[in-house]
């Protein structure tokens, strides 16, 4: 049976715990200016980093919905 532990719990755990790692990483590189928003190509990288996170959340969510037959 496809219960919550089989469908959405892994998704929430992945982007909850993984999300914490991602957000902590972003805060660290922004605070230390390792990623410096004043530099033009760093601003592009900032967008790429956020896009990548959103891309994977969307990809996994869409596949779960497709598997469950929800369109």
């Amino acid at each position: 049976m496809l219960d919550f532990s089989r469908t959405w719990l892994p998704f929430l755990y992945l982007y909850g715990v993984g999300g914490i790692a991602f957000i902590v990483g972003m805060i660290l590189i922004l605070r230390t200016k390792a990623l410096n928003k004043e530099i033009a190509h760093h601003r592009i990288w900032l967008k790429v980093l956020y896009f990548g996170f959103g891309f994977y959340i969307t990809l996994h969510a869409v596949f779960i919905l497709l598997a469950l037959g929800i369109s």
């Binding site: 993984g18 991602f22 990809l59 779960i64 598997a67």
Partner: protein, 619 residues
């Protein structure tokens, strides 16, 4: 199961493939003149070349075999390990990558000596070598598992043949050979993985009343279509265990500690090119790779559901890839796809062998050598070291063969050997307060607590997330969480009870100094004025200095000043930086369209007469 597969044509195709790759690799040996070339390819390659090379490194022969097995058993959730690497990209791209690139460390253990001390370096060397040589052994085992079914040669004899074949091109070529054979092999293995998927869909279309894609989708259950596994069941394949073992320990281990991968990024012509390679790899190439390595299992499952009896009865897990390939492809094509499996092995093994010999020369030989040897002698040692590494890996193969499956062998290996290194490197980079006694305690005491956890599973139970304990086998993947927790706990506690490191010692070695690294690398303030690239022809000048001289006009165009760093490459972009050099701007001259270079630079860049060069200011 007696799985006799392949025809003489297939065997011939595989042998031809081996010969082509060995020749290809040996040809690029001419670009390895120094240990820097041998290990780092001269830090000159474009992002796209590094990306494809990373694909070939990341997809090992174990990938095809182990993911096909899990894909057959559990469906799309076999892709989990390829789709969880983005979380650490900020810290990798803007923390670790600039640190290792700009501090010019030759190896990860060298970073440990700079950041901590020699003891920390020695411990890191030992652990990283065990990690990499074990990884090579798993590669050998996987390919041998597939090939001995085809040629009927005993497993260990097959392992030895594979080890000898990879030695031939690696011995002469080093990193440049590795990168270029990986370019070739990376393309082959992506193509053949997708070809297998296409053939599988065709097979389903021919044997059912539906179209290929429709038959594929309809013959998988909703459970098999879910992209993530069940949260904590079964014990040998559950989401939370694999998340900690692969998503955390494995991802950090692969991105931050895999010397082979790090050397790829250090072969990039700049940090920004390395970032592009990393982003492109995780965003586009990894999802494609997930399909490439898993699809044999998905197709196999759909065939088993739609055409009962088409696959051999009682098929063992590790045989899924070969069995499915044999069913859906014709003679010759089967050989080509198995050749791709060889490509996966050779391209991963060559990287790891090259990386292991880099560590042995850099972290064992150089610090211990009583008399100073020149670069040529060290290059010779590096070449023979790579043979020694393979011999040890071959000896380790029977140990990994004792696991139930290659997936479990690989999972156990990751969760056991990476956590102390993961914790040490992470706290070292991101926490200035992490001290030298703490890193040594992390390695020694952390490892002791990890061993205790192997013998007393009740210690791991609080971390188990409800995963069932397997008698005699422990908790497996989730053990990675326990291992990370005890190592981090030891590191933090010991740090808080020991004196902080002096600020001067940490300069340029932690995340908080990353914005200073470019200045340290250049030796003066970086020149960030925007300029443009110029196209020039080269002329020789009698000089022993590492400088190149442009006309005043071209210097202005590039917004460059004397003493700035410059990258000069052949204007043919498709060479990916193979013919290029890094240098420093010298005093300008009046001859427009000409760059003056030395004899040594010409030899290093392998520039061709009358072929134009492109020059760009670096900083």
């Amino acid at each position: 199961m007696d799985l006799a597969v392949g025809t003489n044509l297939d065997r011939f195709v595989i042998i031809v493939y081996f010969v082509i790759v060995m020749g290809f690799g040996a040809y690029f040996g001419k670009y390895s003149k120094t240990t820097s070339d041998y290990f780092f390819g001269g830090r000159r390659f474009s992002w796209w070349l590094i990306t494809i090379s990373i694909v070939a490194t990341g997809i090992g022969s174990h990938s095809f075999v182990k993911y096909s097995t899990k894909a057959y058993q559990y469906g799309f959730s076999s892709t989990m390990t390829y789709m969880n690497d983005w979380f650490f990209m900020p810290l990798f791209m803007f923390g670790w990558l600039p640190i290792i690139y700009y501090t010019r460390v030759g190896s990860i253990p060298e970073y440990f000596e700079k950041r901590f001390n020699k003891t920390a370096r020695s411990l890191a060397t030992l652990m990283i070598l065990v990690y990499m040589i074990g990884y090579i052994a798993i590669q050998f085992l996987t390919l041998a598992t597939a090939l001995y079914r085809i040629y009927g040669i005993p497993l260990m004899a097959t392992v030895v043949i594979i080890a000898v074949a990879t030695t031939i091109y690696m011995h002469f070529g080093g990193q440049t050979s590795v990168i270029f054979t990986d370019l070739f092999q990376g393309l082959i293995l992506i193509f053949s993985g997708l070809l297998l998927f296409f053939l599988g869909l065709n097979y389903l279309a021919d044997h059912t009343a539906l179209g290929g894609l429709q038959a594929f989708w309809q013959n998988l259950t909703p459970d098999q279509k879910l992209p993530l596994a069940h949260f904590n069941r079964p014990p040998d394949f559950n989401f939370v265990g694999i998340f900690w073992q692969d998503g955390i320990a494995g991802s950090v281990g692969f991105l931050f500690l895999n010397q082979g991968l790090i050397m790829r990024f250090m072969a990039a012509r700049s940090v920004n090119e390395g970032r592009k390679a990393a982003a492109f790899n995780v965003l586009l190439v990894l999802p494609i790779s997930a399909i490439v390595v898993s699809n044999a299992g998905w197709i196999g499952r759909a065939i088993a559901n739609a055409v009962p009896g088409a696959l051999p009865a009682g098929m063992e897990g590790n045989d899924v890839f070969v069995a499915v390939t044999n069913v859906v492809s014709s003679p010759g094509v089967f050989g080509f796809i198995i050749a791709a499996l060889c490509a996966a092995l050779m391209s991963t093994a060559d990287t790891l062998v090259n990386a292991s010999s880099a560590i042995i020369v850099n972290d064992v030989y150089r610090p211990l050598a009583k008399k100073k040897t020149n670069d040529k002698e060290q290059l010779k040692i590096a070449r023979f070291t790579s043979i020694g590494v393979k011999v040890i890996a071959v000896i380790l193969v029977p140990f990994f063969n004792s696991f139930d499956s290659i997936y479990e062998a690989h999972g156990w290996f990751h969760s056991t050997f990476t956590p102390p290194l993961v914790v040490a490197v992470f706290l070292g980079i991101f926490w200035k307060r992490f001290t030298t006694p703490a890193v040594i305690a992390t390695f020694v005491l952390g490892a002791a607590l990890m061993i205790l956890g192997q013998f007393f599973p009740e210690l791991v139970k609080p971390f188990s997330h409800g995963i069932e304990l397997r008698p005699g086998r422990g908790y497996y993947y989730i053990g990675a969480l326990y291992n990370i927790a005890v190592c981090a706990g030891v590191g933090v506690i010991v740090s808080l009870f020991t004196d902080p490191e002096p600020k001067e010692k940490l300069k340029g070695l932690t995340l908080s100094d990353v914005n200073l690294l470019r200045e340290i690398f250049k030796g003066s303030k970086p020149n960030d004025r925007l300029g443009e690239g110029v196209t020039v022809l080269w002329k020789l000048i009698d000089s022993e200095e590492d400088i190149v001289c442009f006309s005043k006009h071209e210097m202005d165009k590039m917004a460059a000043e004397v003493g700035d760093l410059v990258y000069v490459s052949d204007s043919r972009k498709w060479l990916g930086g193979l013919k290029s050099i890094h240098s420093v701007y010298g005093e300008p001259h009046e001859e427009e369209g000409i760059v003056y270079i030395s004899e040594e630079q010409l030899g290093h860049g392998q520039f061709v007469k009358d072929k134009s060069l492109i020059a760009e200011k670096e900083m």
